[in-house]
């Protein structure tokens, strides 16, 4: 299998552009992966700064720093950018780097389309950010874009709709590329049921993306025509229904939350076996669980809408189907714990983040389950309890898994070991900070604090103050992450080919850093 490493960097017969043109025109999956990751990192700081401003305003009751309308803009853009500009691009970055390496493929199936899928994102990102400076400011209707509020806004609302279209286009092209690569470019002998779990989760994620992104595009297109071309999709006077938007939106957006977590499951399923020095427990059931989650995700959407006043049968159906998702997710959690069981564990930074992921994601999963119980959700809907729930699954879930994957593969990508001491600091400050921000939000929600408000009643003061302190700890500890990444790119201890003692898979058979072109002739997997 060491033949796989016979990759050459001496591609003399074509002139490759250099400088900025190299990045603009690149068709190399590693370059494109890096672009995605840098974009995501940058956007993390942008959207994170918005979160810090939100938290600063909420430090005390009363209006101190921002105007209520600007507060809503911050909330909306924070949500939109974190989801579409941070987590999704970061996972695409991982896919671009890792899927060809893990499959023994020379590149992605469609390198030019791969480039385009990335270079659409800066366009959309620019539209989102520039709208802060347009008349009326950025969109302030929540990342969920519910009409009729979304119909009322000004120019930035139209621009945001088009930005969503462009991001959707990017995701669809990226996903078609990834699916095709996985289905058609595996090294000889690498059957589907031998693929690394990260590849499996991305295969299913790409399927979800292709199935739901066009639905989102349809939904926002209807918003656009309701705003500008006189249609009445969401207006009762014309026979439409504002709630119809919610149904179409959540038909997209519930699978979307699994798009945001399945690749995370994949990363964690690579990291834990490596540092437990023991094969992943229940590989097959992991694959089946992932697929079940994907299938179920299409029939649970209305759990976001328990308070719209659905017929009682619908309420019951969506409650039961939502609860069912706990079963396959539980299988995953149990399998991870069983992988650690009787292993020989060491605790480098990737492993620390993976362990924190398993534990804290489960807390988020449990609060999700509490929300799935319709009568309880009717109390908690649109309160900070929901905010607590989704930050546990998104921050300590998706984001922590991204951190884990970053530390795990950084040596392979840069050829240098990252600074372990800084990594540990980053980990501990993040875990502690994260819990200080988001745990008290459960209590706020239970006690009745609505979300998306710039000011609150006095009884909510203490928990908000705690959360704000935590947010600043968590936010500023991300500067350590930035330092670690930049340092590893610049230099540091040389990484070996295998990097981690327990690491297995094709990517650990090529040198570190992985050469510009790998697997020009396919390795054979036995």
């Amino acid at each position: 299998m060491s033949d796989a490493a016979h990759a050459h960097d001496d591609h003399g017969h074509h002139a490759h552009p250099t400088g900025i043109m190299r990045w603009l025109t690149t068709t190399n999956h590693k370059d494109i992966g890096s672009l995605y990751l840098f974009f995501a990192l940058f956007m993390l700081f942008v959207a994170g700064s918005m979160a810090l401003l939100i938290r600063a305003e909420l430090f005390q009751p009363g209006l101190q720093l921002v105007h209520p309308d600007f507060f809503n803009q911050l909330t909306t853009m924070h949500g939109l950018i974190m989801i579409f500009g941070v987590i999704m691009p970061a996972f695409s970055g991982f896919a671009n780097w890792q899927v060809p390496l893990m499959l023994g493929a020379p590149d992605m199936a469609f390198p030019r389309m791969n480039n385009w899928a990335f270079w659409l994102l800066p366009v959309a990102g620019f539209f989102l950010l520039v709208s802060f400076w347009l008349p009326g400011g950025a969109v302030a209707g929540g990342w969920t874009m519910y009409p009729p509020l979304f119909i009322q806004g000004g120019i930035s609302y139209d621009l945001t709709i088009l930005a969503v279209h462009i991001m959707g286009l990017s995701s669809i092209m990226g996903s078609i590329n990834i699916i095709t690569t996985i289905l058609n470019m595996r090294a000889p002998g690498l059957t589907l049921m031998k693929m690394p779990l990260f590849v499996w989760t991305w295969l299913i994620t790409a399927y979800l993306l292709i199935a739901t992104m066009p639905v989102l595009a349809g939904a926002v297109t209807m918003l656009l025509t309701d705003r500008n071309f006189g249609t009445h999709f969401f207006n009762a006077a014309g026979g439409g229904d504002p709630v119809m938007f919610q149904h179409i939106f959540w038909f997209f957006a519930h699978p979307e939350v699994y798009i945001l977590i399945l690749p995370a499951f994949g990363i964690v399923s690579q990291v834990i076996p490596t540092f437990a020095r023991k094969p992943l427990f229940g590989y097959a059931s992991m694959v089946y669980a992932t697929a079940s989650i994907a299938v179920l995700s299409f029939i649970v959407w209305a759990h976001h809408m328990f308070t719209v006043g659905m017929p009682v049968t619908a309420q019951l159906f969506f409650m039961f189907s939502t609860m069912l998702i706990a079963v396959p997710t539980g299988v995953k959690v149990f399998n991870w714990v069983a992988t650690m069981w009787k292993g020989s564990m060491t605790f480098e930074t990737p492993m620390l983040f993976a362990i924190a992921f398993v534990c804290l994601f489960t807390i988020g999963g449990f609060s999700g389950l509490v929300l799935a119980i319709a009568p309880v959700d009717i109390q908690l809907h649109d309160t900070y309890y929901v905010v607590a729930h989704f930050h546990y699954v998104l921050v300590s879930g998706a984001l922590f898994a991204i951190f884990a994957g970053l530390y795990y593969w950084l040596p392979k990508w840069t050829g240098h070991m990252y600074n372990e001491t800084l990594g540990k600091w980053h980990f501990w400050l993040s875990v502690i900070g994260m819990n200080i921000v988001f745990f008290p939000m459960h209590f706020l929600g239970l006690a009745g604090m609505p979300r998306r408000i710039p000011d609150y009643a006095l009884q909510f003061t203490e928990f908000n103050q705690i959360a704000t302190v935590g947010a600043f700890i968590f936010g500023f500890s991300q500067l350590i992450l930035l330092t670690v990444v930049l340092k590893a790119i610049k230099g540091g201890e040389k990484a070996t080919t295998q990097v981690w003692e327990g690491a297995e898979g094709l990517e650990w058979t090529v040198p570190s850093p992985a050469p510009y072109h790998t697997f020009e002739t396919a390795p054979v997997v036995k």
Binding site: R112, W119, V123, L162, M222, F229, G239, M244
Partner: protein, 288 residues
């Protein structure tokens, strides 16, 4: 090209086309927003964007055609194309699903809700929930329109599209038998049928707007009618353009009996557009 080259997976060189495509979308979005917000010169920016987009498509596709003609696409690449085209069509199916979903929802749920119990009594007195409708508010204001019947132009259009599905398949048979004149004739007929379809559709829209009071603003009926048939019509247009390109490439002799995925992709797409139309015909025109 040597044999060794075809063993390897084809990896294209760095390309400028994608970033040009991004620039095009940038201009189109900015121009589009300006047009919608009635800001001066938006139309020009939109047109410029469209121009860049067309330039990019011509450039990019020519490059792909050159790669194909140079024999750089081996069997594995061909199979990648097949996968990707299938997934692309699946994404299109889901796009239409959103609008069919809206039709289902308004027809089966929201319109009936508007005409019953408290909602009707408190908010829309006297509203009768029927389909087609322009909705309680517009109806109360005296808005009226005539719905589009199925058995005039729409039925003819159905016939046209179904026939075009046959002609494109016939052309494909010709290609597989290396019968070029059958290929070219089949394609030409398909293009002609597509163009006729678009013409009739345009006539139908004109009639709807000028004589039937049926517009985009005619409540949910008008909205779903025009969005569904409009997006379908747009797909027919794109499909026809692609068929024309295939016709030109057939005349230029690009396709061989073994190697002609571009042609197949277009015919898949055409069949998909066909199936959508049949659904439209049944659900939008017929069952009102």
């Amino acid at each position: 090209m040597s044999l060794a080259q075809t063993d390897k997976y084809f990896l294209p060189q760095p390309s400028l086309w994608p970033i040009i495509g991004s620039a095009a979308l940038f201009l189109m979005a900015v121009g589009g927003v300006m047009v919608m917000r009635e800001i001066d010169h938006g139309g020009w920016i939109l047109l410029a964007g469209l121009g860049v987009m067309i330039f990019m498509m011509i450039g990019w596709f020519s490059e792909v055609i050159r790669d194909s003609e140079a024999g750089r696409f081996n069997r594995q690449v061909d199979s990648s194309f097949r996968w990707s085209m299938s997934w692309f069509i699946f994404s299109e199916v889901m796009f239409f699903a959103a609008f069919f979903g809206a039709l289902f929802y308004t027809r089966m749920l929201s319109v009936p809700w508007l005409g019953e119990s408290d909602t009707m009594e408190q908010l829309w007195p006297a509203f009768k929930a029927t389909w087609p409708t322009a909705g309680p508010g517009l109806t109360a204001d005296g808005f009226q329109f005539t719905p589009m019947g199925a058995w005039g132009l729409p039925a003819i259009n159905t016939l046209l599209l179904l026939t075009s599905g046959v002609t494109v398949t016939w052309a494909h048979w010709g290609l597989k038998k290396s019968n070029r004149s059958q290929l070219i004739l089949g394609l030409a007929m398909t293009v002609a049928l597509g163009v006729t379809f678009i013409g009739l559709q345009a006539y139908e829209y004109h009639h709807a707007y000028t004589e039937m009071g049926l517009t985009l603003g005619a409540g949910v009926y008008g909205a779903t009618f025009f969005m569904l048939t409009g997006f379908h019509g747009f797909h027919v247009l794109v499909g026809t353009i692609m068929l024309i390109v295939m016709l030109l490439r057939s005349i230029a002799g690009h396709f061989t009996a073994e190697h002609h995925f571009a042609f197949e992709a277009v015919s898949w797409y055409w069949h998909f557009v066909d199936v959508v139309w049949v659904l439209l015909f049944i659900l939008v025109y017929w069952l009102i």
